[in-house]
Amino acid sequence: MSGQFILVQLFNGLILGSLYVLLALGLCIIFGMLGIINFAHGAIFMVGAYLAYTVTAYLIPNFWVALVCVPIGMALGGALLEVIFLRRLYELPPLYVMLFTFGLMLVLQDLIRMIFGSMGVPFSTPAALAGAVNLGFMHYPTYRLFLIVLTAAVSLGVWLFLTRTKLGGLIRAGTDNPRMVEALGINISRIITLVVALGTGLAGLAGVLAAPIQNVRPLMGMDFLVDCFVVVVIGGMGSLGGSILGGLIVGEIIAVGVMVWPPMANTLIYLFMAAFLLVRPRGLFGREAFHE
């Protein structure tokens, strides 16, 4: 096994990790705010990829337009979803909201299958990002490098937004104690809408970015989502830093697994999670008594 191959694999792990990070961040903030697992998150990711396909193949053949418009459109969709449906379910046990998102997942997946078929659609790398870059020690596809850099920038942006701005502070306060935030005279329901929109937008962005490198098919988000649960469990519930670090760890574990024993690559992350939980039951940065 050459050093070159190992490096390429580690970079590929970073790619996978980047997608996990984007999805896990959305899962994490929605979870923190509402105390629910969004089972539709993987389907939303998939819809993002299909919207990118629709935009580039039928409307405006420009990847950059899709990259900007699809996440924004998805965020608006997420806001609508919250205002029309989710809002009515908050006084119920979280179980019912999860049941709702489970139904939503089935609906989205089947809807996309009805429109585009179950075989998947072709999606090529945008022309401007085709080819490879010489990094000095190896050649690496430009698009993949772009994906890593963009994800890093977006994660940093989300991080700064949540930790350095007033609105971000309100969101963090809302995840800790929504009633207290409301008692202080802040309209919590608007903040919840914002959080769901942000999470959906990030999942949409991940979908657009994944479209050129993964098979765009109706069930692409289904098992990917469960990997993201592993990310959140390892990172610690409700911790943004944990989602980012966890995402990169899980991506690298799969990359290493592919080098060592390909059939077990996916199983490896679950074994790792099991072992990890024995050592650190709340994950890397999980807080005690947080939605437990």
């Binding site: 009515r88 469960v226 959140v232 199983t267």
Partner: protein, 308 residues
């Protein structure tokens, strides 16, 4: 037993005996029974233990694969195959339960889901043993002593007998000291702990019993289909049993049974008209959350209360 309960139970038995003769096809009746048992076993964890497991597909699937593999590769004996299903699914439940039971709330849900997915990937990749993506094909249905199970009707009554015995055991478990302790833990964990109950141990017991009967349901599923689809282990199977339990009315044991009956029959009806049944099932789940939150049982109870 109060008279009204005896009437309900009596009509259940009559319906169950007549069911294959009114169902559109016999295998559908068997499928309904299998999922009724699965949902009832699941209710032990969700409704009585207050634990939202999203990993029960693992125990159902392991039961199905164990039965299939024993019948296909080891010995053509149905009792042995089903005992194997129960043993292996209980062991899996012990492993998953032990690793996840100390986690509560959503954490528990995610951890159980992730473990179930691990079994899914093992079955997916270990094609030599499981047939991988194609599923385990050609599971035989050997005779049971003098009884031939090739007839779907015979199989239905065989399944009915096992399901009835299992349900009886589950009801007994719920009414046993273990069951009542479990409900006490669900209602007020802190108080039960201060009385001196070991919370995690009772939760683990419930989890393993639930996994054991889920595995039996899985084993019967393999017999019914003459194969094991890989989908039995997929996490959407866990989602389905959760949905059945909630739509039926969790924490009532017979509610989940009704939920399973309703959902399996509904899916069969919808799939007669359209290929995209999962779209409509999804819509129904979304609507159910807004519609009847006490489940079918809650709906029945309030209707009966209104009639009185």
């Amino acid at each position: 037993m109060p008279r009204s309960q005896a009437y309900v139970l009596g009509s259940f038995i009559v319906l169950a005996v007549l069911f294959p003769h009114v169902a559109p096809y016999k295998a559908l009746a068997s499928e309904v029974l299998i999922f009724a048992l699965f949902a009832m076993a699941y209710d032990l964890v969700l409704g009585y233990g207050g634990m939202l497991s999203f990993g029960h597909a693992a125990f159902f699937g392991i039961g199905a694969y164990t039965t299939g593999i024993i019948l296909l590769r080891v010995t053509p004996s149905i009792p042995l195959a089903l005992v194997g299903a129960v043993v292996f699914s209980s062991l899996a439940a012990l492993f998953v339960g032990y690793a996840s039971i100390r986690r509560h709330g959503i954490y528990f849900t995610m951890v159980t889901l992730a473990f179930a997915q691990m079994f899914y990937f093992i079955a997916f990749k270990w094609t030599g043993l499981t047939g991988g993506d194609d599923g385990l094909q050609g599971v035989p249905r050997p005779d049971l002593g003098p009884l031939s199970l090739h007839s779907e009707t015979h199989l239905y009554y065989f399944i009915l007998a096992l399901v009835a015995v299992s349900m009886f055991v589950i009801v007994r478990v719920v009414n046993s000291p273990v069951g009542t302790t479990l409900q006490a833990l669900r209602e007020n964990r802190d108080r039960a702990m201060s009385v001196g109950y070991n919370v995690d141990r009772f939760r683990l017991i419930a989890f393993v019993i639930s996994g054991c009967f889920s595995g039996l349901a899985g084993g019967l599923y393999a017999l019914m289909l003459n194969m094991v689809p890989l989908g039995a282990l997929h996490w959407t199977t866990s989602g389905e049993v959760v949905v059945m339990t909630i739509t039926g009315g969790m924490g009532s044991l017979f509610g989940p049974v009704l939920g399973a009956v309703a959902i399996i029959l509904l899916r069969d009806i919808i799939s007669n008209y359209t290929e995209s049944w999962s779209f409509f099932m999804g819509l129904i789940f979304m609507g159910a959350v807004f519609g009847f939150r006490g489940g079918i049982v809650g709906l029945l109870r309030s209707t009966i209360a209104r009639l009185r």
